[in-house]
């Protein structure tokens, strides 16, 4: 199952960044596929991006809301919110574990042999602050003389944008290099910090700062596909605590908003078949370790 997840991560990363003509065109993909919402955090200014980033797009729409309303256009971001809401209702943070290119990059970095450190649980609240302040409130409230707000998260924080779009665009378009200033330096340092942190801790950006992860986390109790804990079978051996890349104590918190449904607890840890995957309450799969599957006599 872990191999399948890796393959899906690779396939989604390729599909959402599937325009490989940029070395010749020197700019980004401008086809009709860009009306499709990327499930994970994937900057739409990346030269290879074939879809739009939901976080970038919603900030742009909220930033331009006053101007749009003045022109009789009701662009509240409903289509973007609807797209990620449907994905959240179906998969929740399973998207983070299976379909986010930046999450995949962090996973690969974490494989570099080094001493590993835990991330304090308290820091996981930071991403909700980024979602509320940097994605919604600041673009909406702080506007320039023309009534336009800025995409605050993209502009000042997003390391995915710097890695996938900022650096490649600077390499492709030399004339942009003269515009490098403190803004880029700030984002470059943030990117370096998160990428370095990813070597020593598992998925630090997803856990502490990703606003899209924070949005999907809101669906942890109501999402269609989720892990189920059979309390009758659970022995509280805590084996699931040791394998979780998100620091979730699954037996204590089966609906934890941090759970990315990577299935490590189900397939690598639980020896008692206490964890299973379900769709809308109906069991879908049981651990594939040759132990007695639930439901069979």
């Amino acid at each position: 199952m872990e191999a399948a997840r890796k393959w899906i991560q690779v396939i989604v990363a390729i599909l959402t960044n599937g325009s490989w003509s940029f070395p010749f065109t020197k700019t980004l993909y401008q086809g009709p596929l860009k009306v499709i919402c990327a499930p994970g955090l994937n900057c739409y200014s990346c030269p290879a991006a074939t879809t739009y980033c939901p976080m970038g797009s919603i900030q742009q729409l909220l930033g331009g809301l006053r101007f749009a309303l003045e022109n009789g256009q009701y662009y509240f971001g409903f289509s973007v919110l609807g797209s990620i809401g449907v994905l959240g209702g179906l998969f929740g943070r399973m998207i983070c574990g299976w379909a986010c290119p930046f999450g995949f990059i962090q996973e690969l970095l974490h494989k570099i042999p080094s001493r590993k450190f835990r991330i304090p649980r308290m820091l996981s609240h930071g991403k909700y602050l980024f979602l509320l302040l940097f994605v919604v409130v600041l673009p909406l409230v702080l506007v320039d003389e023309f009534g336009s707000g800025s995409p605050w998260f993209c502009k000042f924080v997003c390391p995915a944008g710097t890695l996938e779009a900022g650096i490649p665009m600077l390499l492709l378009q030399p004339n942009l290099r003269s515009t490098i200033g403190l803004l880029f330096l700030n984002k470059f340092v943030i990117m370096l910090l998160f990428l370095t942190w990813a070597v020593f801790s598992s998925r630090p950006f997803c856990r502490t700062a990703c606003p899209l992860g924070a949005f999907y986390a809101l669906f942890s109790k109501v999402r269609l596909i989720k892990l189920h804990l059979d309390e009758a079978k659970c022995t509280n051996c805590k084996a699931c605590h040791h394998v979780c890349p998100m620091g979730v104590k699954f037996n204590e918190s089966p609906n934890d908003p941090e759970c990315i449904t990577c299935l490590a607890c189900m397939n690598k840890a639980c020896q008692f078949d206490a964890i299973s995957l379900e769709i809308g309450g109906i069991p879908l799969a049981v651990p594939d370790r040759g132990l007695s599957p639930a439901g069979k006599p």
Binding site: Q73, G77, G82, V86, K155, K221, F272, A294
Partner: protein, 56 residues
């Protein structure tokens, strides 16, 4: 270490909440589409957003 599961299986019922949530967001998406929002999203996505990538 493994234990065989001989106990009777609990009946699991279909959860309705995910379907309500998905339907609500689907309606929201349709409202957005009806107002012509995807055209605006596409317009933004086709341009290099310099401020988005920290060089503008």
């Amino acid at each position: 270490m493994s234990q065989t599961s001989r106990e009777p299986r609990k009946k699991r019922t279909l959860r309705k909440a995910p379907f309500v949530v998905i339907t609500a967001f689907l309606l929201l998406w349709l409202i957005g589409v009806a107002t012509g929002e995807p055209a605006r999203v596409l317009e933004q996505a086709l341009q290099v957003c310099l401020s988005c990538i920290g060089i503008g």
